[in-house]
Symmetry: C2
Subunit: 218 residues, 2 copies
């Protein structure tokens, strides 16, 4: 698939060397993230909410209740911006204003489209489960047509957007490098803990291997 | 200080029992988060970017380069929505569409104001450093007037908004509870790793205790 589309708004204005339209990089960040922050222009101004998502090829999928305000605005053509951010480290410099974070993020622009085809809806749900825990799509009760009808699905193109990566650690002013001050980075990571069964019934069953693999026991 | 202001857009439309205007809850989420997703209505539509932030009382502070498109739009009165999200666990249900996450988030609405007073700017920088690593504000080279002049600061009121918390674990349909399927939660947490010095000079200095405290060595 081609690289992402570079437009004025999908090209970082500052620190352009940190920006990229490379699709493989964009996909790796989207696949590692857990939540997207979805910003939509509604009749009450911009609204930014965290939503789970899934990627299938060059499309991102969101879902929710049919009355979901954000999803409805998207399907009515409201402009949207979807951002997924991974924090890699705190950057502690010698000067206050060079404090920062190393991070990777993807920012996508566009408009959503309602997904009505049950097969595409099922594929989106499968992708969502696989995104949360690889292997999970095979381990659930089969979804019903009624459940799909009671859910709103939105497709959003992974097209106009970019990845932005800061991976520089500390960048202090040359004059500050000899100060008697420690400077460095503190790595930040997202860690999955030991799975806990939902109830007594689940506790009688072994924790599935794919779940344990997501969250290795110590 | 009073609770946050409940308006139509700052009151969750669905699952209202998860929403709260309680200031102490809002502040605890803002203080634990690392990044805010800042959504601003620009002339190119809504833009959502991750930014570091600090809280002082009932104000949130953002900063960046003077040319920063988002901050400039905010100081020109563009409506904005600032969201901070903490993920607490993956929720793996027996049915696909009951998969979810337990999370805590704060969503704030309003418009920003430019901060020109150097004392308020300094206080914002101190709060930002303390937010990243408690104790850090004391361990940096003193900020200069020229540095402050070369930085844009924005104040955003913690007023119209709400916290939303999902802390329910698995909620399956009653008919699914006896299925031969495991269900449960996988805890998710943000973990700070061992600090790494920026360069040879920093490596000659002991890692400050407040940094080690943020990121306890194993």
């Amino acid at each position: 698939m081609p690289e992402l589309t570079a437009t004025a708004r999908s090209t970082p204005r500052r620190k352009r060397e940190r920006g990229s339209h490379e699709r493989a990089l964009v996909e790796s960040i989207l696949d590692e993230g857990l939540l997207a922050h979805v910003g939509v222009l509604t009749d009450e101004g911009p609204v930014v909410l965290p939503l789970v998502y899934a990627r299938i090829g060059d499309q991102l999928y969101l879902h929710g209740a049919p009355g979901n305000h954000l999803l409805r605005a998207m399907t009515e053509g409201a402009p949207a911006c979807i951002t997924v951010t991974l924090v890699d480290s705190l950057v502690l410099a010698r000067s206050a204003l060079h404090h920062s974070m190393d991070y990777r993020c993807v920012v996508l622009f566009g408009t959503g489209e309602r997904v009505d085809d049950p097969d595409e809806q099922r594929a989106a749900v499968d992708a969502l489960l696989e995104h949360m825990v690889p292997g999970q799509a095979e381990h659930v009760r089969e979804i019903t047509a009624a459940e799909l009808r009671a859910t709103a699905f939105v497709r959003f193109p992974i097209d106009e957007g970019s990845a932005k990566v800061r991976n520089e650690g500390v960048v202090d002013d040359p004059a500050d490098l000899d100060l008697d001050l420690w400077a460095g980075v503190v790595p930040v990571s997202t860690v999955f803990g030991a799975p806990a069964p939902a109830d007594a019934r689940a506790a009688t069953l072994p924790t599935p291997a794919h779940v344990t693999a997501r969250a290795p026991s110590p």
